[in-house]
Symmetry: C2
Subunit: 501 residues, 2 copies
């Protein structure tokens, strides 16, 4: 789009802080415009003169605004041409390959054996507990509204003194469930507060869903690669995993799943992360979502939707959940505020579809109701517009962090490295040159003071040994940059010294 | 003991409130002496003259002090003899029968089918949601240190602003675990902070213990009667329950268990509440505890100890946990602060014995770490002597509430009613005349505005249909008295009108 169409004076629900200097307020307006896609990579910024006229500011203020945006790596000066919205240098790296759809159908569903690999990983973490963590799944605390949540907690305790000493309601705080139901409506799901059961994070929700629809020995179809926590849950419940090829751009391969449902009639459930798949970062297109829900409904099996990243997808309007296409209770929707709002609070919830009563009983038998305090704090926070403002800022920060990390990876990793830029969130699923084992890479990186996740723990079938998952979870861009460059040099050394195959 | 030996001027860790009138401070001293057994039922109180001299107070103050103790039903005036520590009128009711040890050995272990009964019960609760609850398992909020916990929470939030937005440690807050380990030492268990995993209440701890040592289809030996939550956990995990006779005074019948271990080699675990068994209120003697641990260790099966009521046992020094006799990791100890300190906080923990690593992995797979906020609040509270003071007060309050309820039951329930006074806590396991079905009694009571727990949900084998569990959980003695009297009249009517058998 042309810069002439961009009018940063337009209505904004963000109230500019009175204490911010003017140049920073203006830079923030442009930062938002870039963050939400109103200004796109390669767009020309207004000339200095146009900027001064448009905003009625001095040359000094205009210059400072542009410097601020340059420092944030959002715009670049091109000699004799002016300023442009920065084009991420990820374009320099080839995208990851689409999965080989032929690889799956013959594979047998396996009992999962991932606990020992995770245990080994965790005990290795202890070798260097102060390593910079590029392997996590939540952003650093400074990206979350720490102060506001703290104040909301103090308010809640003052208003309701017996929060800590009176037993709470079984399904969770009614006010919070009402707010969640209202928000689900915006995400395309018609549910009521009574359809929601609060859980100890999304992980407990996922476990309850699996327990509700399977018996030990049953087979569950999962994405490949998939979140290792799901594999752990399957193992601990005695379930078999059938890994379905999953695209780095469009998510689960529906045709491969359809074929698997024919060849494996013992599949009792499919588990999918439709929005910002972990670790791929893919977002399933609406048409795929519709087909997936229809496929599971016809097959009569549960579709378990793990959806904690939906609100981190780039753009002003997050995509819809699979639940939006559900007409007969096929979809069990699991999510939490753990990634989007408060990693220190274990507040998740589940909408159990037609298994709702059984899930309610399992939750009661497994851990009773959740504590009320966190729920009341969140209800207080979510009543205001603060959550939407926070989400916009978080998406902007993560986008900037992703671009910087993508540029650092492109600049420093060896030839043969590939990845598909994710559409939001913080995960990079990076394919290293085939010569580099991710387990050896993990160990060498840890010894060098950087924690990453090796690809081996994202599959039960021994795939992805030359993949790693990086997280751009820190707002300290320079620290992350430097670490990624060190990782790149390490990968280059390992690729060069690998024995020829 | 003679009243002359009682010296209320002795050192006390309770600081008398400066704002309390003198007569109440003195009454409180005697209340404590009665509560902790220094003065026992039937002991003569000092004469008025002796009281005035000993404490240097006026006749008016002495009289008010005694009136206060009379109002609290702690002392009685006997004409021309003076004042005496009240003898609980429970002596007027026959004790419950010891279990029939012959009933068990032939019984087969059953898959549990309790969910539907609980569901039916819960939906019936909805019929009269405002019924007075004499069926609960936690005391009313005014018996817990609401203000102090609230202040501790505000302090914790101020000191550690990122408590809500930073991910917490895997096993739980280290400071809290260190305090728990120190307290466990006092209870006779030699464990370190690393041996403790924090859980979402004692119920999650129990579930993890069962999952760690069993596979679906396995048999678990349980007390009969036992806590219905345990039966729910067994059902949801696909386990069979073998009910072992349990004495209302000494708990699980060890000989019956020994026999069952011979006849049922498929028993994988025994679950026991050694201190204030739910619903019986029994406390297992030390000698029994030692034998039970030894029996399970020799049989090579897990002994799961559910121990949330230990600190509610009457007396200055709570009894020891089974864990105190454990030398080889046979005992898995599960407990929480839910009954003793903060029913609104879901803070439990587990010491997994030799299954500790597996339990750690299951906990991670099932629900990750607990939220830190509650744990930090509790750590702050437990650092001081406030918890011990609270426990003493809570035990005193519960003792008074039990005596009043026992008196009301004895006075108003029909002939044929039996129960053994519990040694602490709040449960009354009452055997009604055989003509009265507890299910019918439950429904009639609920229609009359009183919620009780029918005995049927405390067994998977259809026992205890003419038993009920009452809880003296409220500090409102008169309200409870009146409700118990109504229940007594109801039982009498139902016994009178039952068809002759």
């Amino acid at each position: 789009m042309s810069e002439a169409l961009f009018t940063p004076h337009g209505p904004s629900t963000d109230r500019p802080s009175e204490r911010q200097p003017l140049y920073r307020q203006l830079a923030d307006q442009y930062r938002r415009a870039i963050g939400n896609g109103v200004l796109r990579p390669g767009d020309r910024m207004p000339s200095m003169r146009a900027f001064m006229q448009r905003h009625g500011v001095s040359l000094a203020t205009a210059t400072e605004s542009y410097r601020e945006l340059e420092r944030a790596a959002l715009i670049d000066a091109r000699p004799r041409a002016g300023y442009f919205v920065r084009v991420p240098s990820t374009a320099a790296l080839p995208c990851a390959a689409e999965p080989d759809l032929a690889m799956q159908p013959g594979a047998a569903a396996q009992f999962v054996g991932i606990h020992s690999a995770i245990s080994a990983l965790v005990s290795k973490f202890q070798r260097n507990p102060h390593a910079l963590n590029l392997g996590g799944a939540t952003a650093s605390p400074d990206l979350y509204p720490t102060d506001m949540l703290q104040k909301a907690a103090v308010r809640a305790l003052r208003r309701r003194p017996t929060l800590l000493t009176a037993v709470g309601p079984d399904q969770g705080d009614p006010a919070l469930r009402a707010i969640i139901a209202r928000r689900a409506l915006e995400a395309g799901s018609q549910i009521g507060a009574d359809d929601i059961i609060m859980t100890h994070g999304g992980v407990e929700a996922m476990n309850l869903a699996l327990r509700a629809v399977t018996q030990p020995g049953d087979t569950v179809a999962v994405e490949s690669p998939c979140f290792f926590g799901l594999l752990q849950a399957l193992e601990s419940l005695g379930l078999r995993a059938l890994e379905i090829p999953t695209s780095p751009s469009t998510g689960l391969a529906i045709e491969a799943l359809a074929f698997a449902l024919h060849t494996h009639p013992d599949i009792k459930a499919v588990v999918v992360v439709p929005n910002l798949q972990n670790p791929l970062g893919s977002v399933m297109p609406d048409a795929h979502k519709a087909r997936l829900v229809d496929l599971c409904a016809r097959a009569g099996i549960a579709l378990i939707e793990d959806d904690p990243y939906r609100e981190l997808v780039d753009g002003a309007q997050p995509p819809r959940s699979l639940k939006a296409w559900d007409t007969d209770g096929t979809v069990i929707h699991c999510t939490s505020f753990n990634k989007t709002l408060a990693p220190g609070m274990r507040v998740g919830w589940i909408n159990g579809g037609r298994w709702h009563p059984r899930i309610g009983m399992l939750k009661f038998a497994q851990s009773r109701h959740n504590e009320q305090l966190s729920q009341v704090v969140l209800a207080g926070f979510l009543e205001t517009s603060a959550y939407e403002r926070h989400l916009r800022r978080l998406r902007e920060s993560l986008r900037l962090q992703r671009e910087r990390m993508a540029a650092a990876v492109a600049a420093s990793f060896p030839d043969g490295t590939r990845f598909t830029p994710p559409r939001g969130g913080m995960f990079f699923w990076i394919e290293l040159p085939r010569e580099v084992s991710s387990s050896a890479f993990f160990e060498a990186a840890l010894d060098d003071g950087i924690r990453i996740m090796p690809g081996t723990v994202f599959s039960n079938a021994g795939r992805f040994d030359h993949f790693i998952r990086l997280s751009c979870s820190s707002a300290d861009l320079d620290l992350t940059d430097e670490a990624v460059r060190r990782l790149g040099r390490l990968a280059a050394r390992m690729a060069a010294h690998a024995p020829t195959r």
